[in-house]
């Protein structure tokens, strides 16, 4: 995740400690655990909606073999012992599991920070309070476009209104609540209207996801790189607009080309000193996290390099503990993901921003080109930007 609000507009938030080290005034998530990945747990494949881009390929039918309540608790213990800082309960739709509050409470008691990714449509005020009481630290609710766009995207009339009611239920319960919004060709034009509406509702955290090419997320649904650049510029401008007077947090997820773009934007808008500062933060952040700072465990216990990479599994937690699978660098793919930028192709290796981007999405590169070392097809930097400023500094920063 890349925080536009932190990097460009100095808004501190609890997650910045994970992203940029302890250089923040806000209360931070435990620093001790920052070397371990954030783990997404797809607790179920089942979902009440059928979203166009779903990376998990979820549907309304149940799937056999989901981790039981007992297995889930043991898994959470192992994650806590391993030092995982955050567990993200996801799906499918995690709220279809009746034992979700029990699992959230178990995670919280074990010392994990439990957070939730949901479509929000099953969130009543009672369930929001139940999750809050269980120790849920954050609810991220997906809304993809305005009412008409979202409902078409999700395949369900009324899904938009139900999600907004879910957001209101969480806010009413006092839960930290944010928006999850996937930016695609279908949803890109609605961004400003949705931000406007949800700001009025009381949302103060907005996470914008680039499309991952997994499950039902296909390249044909994605923006062109040129349109993507325009969309990111719009988000940066919106963040600036909303930042005045209110602490609105804007995060970009899923394309670390954004890191390079923000340095370029900072230089253009604020000057070299600011660009240097932004870059220093992003160097600490470390670029694309797949296989290193983020991991995924699906409903069957299969471990993946990210939640979007469901078609490849590193191993299964019913056979080996998560930590043993994650630490096993005899797996050449894990080695390759962790050995970036050296394992990337020439264009990425020679890019001035290779250290803060790390080649962005290897999954997108593999899906589109068949070559895991190729350039991410959603890299939207210009050749001049990739070449970098004329006079590099000695500290890894940008030119003076």
């Amino acid at each position: 995740m890349i925080s536009v609000s932190k990097l460009l507009y100095d808004l501190d938030a609890a997650g910045d400690g994970l992203r940029y080290g302890a250089d923040s005034d806000a209360e931070q998530i435990r620093e001790r655990r920052q070397q371990r990945p954030v783990v997404v747990w797809n607790t179920t494949k089942q979902c009440n909606l059928s979203c166009a881009h779903c990376y998990a390929g979820a549907d309304c039918g149940s799937a056999p073999g989901e981790l039981t309540t007992a297995e889930g608790k043991a898994l959470l213990d192992e994650l806590a012992d391993y030092g995982v800082p955050v567990v993200l309960f996801s799906g499918g739709e995690p709220l279809v599991r009746d034992d979700l509050p029990e699992l959230v409470a178990h995670a919280s008691d074990a010392g994990l920070r439990p957070v939730l990714s949901t479509n929000g449509t099953l969130l009543t005020r009672e369930r929001a309070r139940e999750l809050r009481d269980a120790g849920l630290a954050y609810a991220g609710i997906s809304v993809d476009g305005g009412r008409e766009t979202n409902d078409a995207f999700r395949g369900e009339a009324g899904a938009f209104d139900a999600a907004v009611r879910g957001i209101e239920a969480c806010l009413d319960a006092g839960l930290k609540t944010g928006l999850r919004y996937t930016v695609t060709e279908q949803t890109v034009d609605d961004i400003a209207d949705v931000v406007d509406l949800l700001t009025d509702v009381g949302v103060d955290r907005f996470c914008f996801y680039h499309l991952a090419y997994g499950g039902r997320g296909v390249p044909e649904a994605d923006l062109t790189p040129e349109r993507r650049r325009e969309a990111i510029t719009e988000l940066v401008e919106l963040t600036r607009e909303y930042h005045s007077g209110a602490g609105i947090e804007t995060l970009l997820v899923g394309n670390y080309c954004d890191a390079a773009y923000l340095v370029e934007y900072a230089r253009e808008a604020f000057g070299e000193e600011r660009a240097r500062r932004v870059r220093r933060h992003l160097e600490r952040n470390g670029g694309d996290p797949a296989g290193e700072r983020v991991a995924d465990i699906d409903y069957l216990g299969n471990v993946h390099a990210t939640q979007f990479w469901q078609s490849y599994s590193l191993g299964n937690v019913r056979d080996r503990p998560f930590g043993a699978i994650w630490d096993d660098e005899s797996n050449p793919l894990l080695g390759r993901l962790r050995d970036r930028p050296d394992s990337l192709g020439e264009q990425c290796r020679s890019c001035a921003y290779a250290d803060i981007c790390r080649g962005a999405s290897r999954l997108r590169a593999l899906t589109v080109t068949g070559d895991i070392a190729a350039t991410d097809p959603q890299c939207y930097l210009t050749p001049a930007e990739r070449a970098g400023p004329d006079t590099p500094t000695g500290d890894g920063g940008v030119a003076d």
């Binding site: 056999p64 608790k73 709220l95 099953l122 069957l300 797996n331 793919l333 070392a373």
Partner: protein, 113 residues
């Protein structure tokens, strides 16, 4: 209607006479899963390198070669045909407590439609 999922212990594992468990839970739903074994030089032994989801052995091979272009030998084995045995028993510490605490040990799912 409430759709009940079978998350009972028997869904995931069965005890064998030697104390290990035969892990019988599926590795995938829908498309088949293929366990991968590879080596990167003729003198290396094959080693396990995870699994891919693919509709056929040929598609699994193609997908695996994208992930492991350096492999000189690659086996794609149907995960459903792999017998899994382990001393590990994920969830055993909580299974009894869950069973004592509920008449029906299988958590249910909410109505989704």
């Amino acid at each position: 209607m409430t759709d009940e999922l079978d998350r009972s212990p028997a869904a995931g594992s069965e005890l064998t006479p030697d104390g290990r468990r035969a892990v019988t839970a599926p590795r995938s739903d829908g498309e088949p899963e293929w366990e991968l074994f590879l080596c990167e030089s003729p003198t290396e032994p094959l080693r396990h390198a995870g699994s891919v989801t693919a509709p056929s052995a040929e598609a699994a091979h193609e997908r695996a070669m994208g992930l492991f272009p350096e492999a000189t030998t690659l086996w794609c084995c149907p995960a459903d045909e792999m017998a899994r045995f382990t001393e590990r028993d994920l969830g055993s510490d909580y299974r009894e407590a869950d069973e004592e605490g509920a008449a029906d040990t299988r958590p249910t799912t909410r109505e989704v439609r």
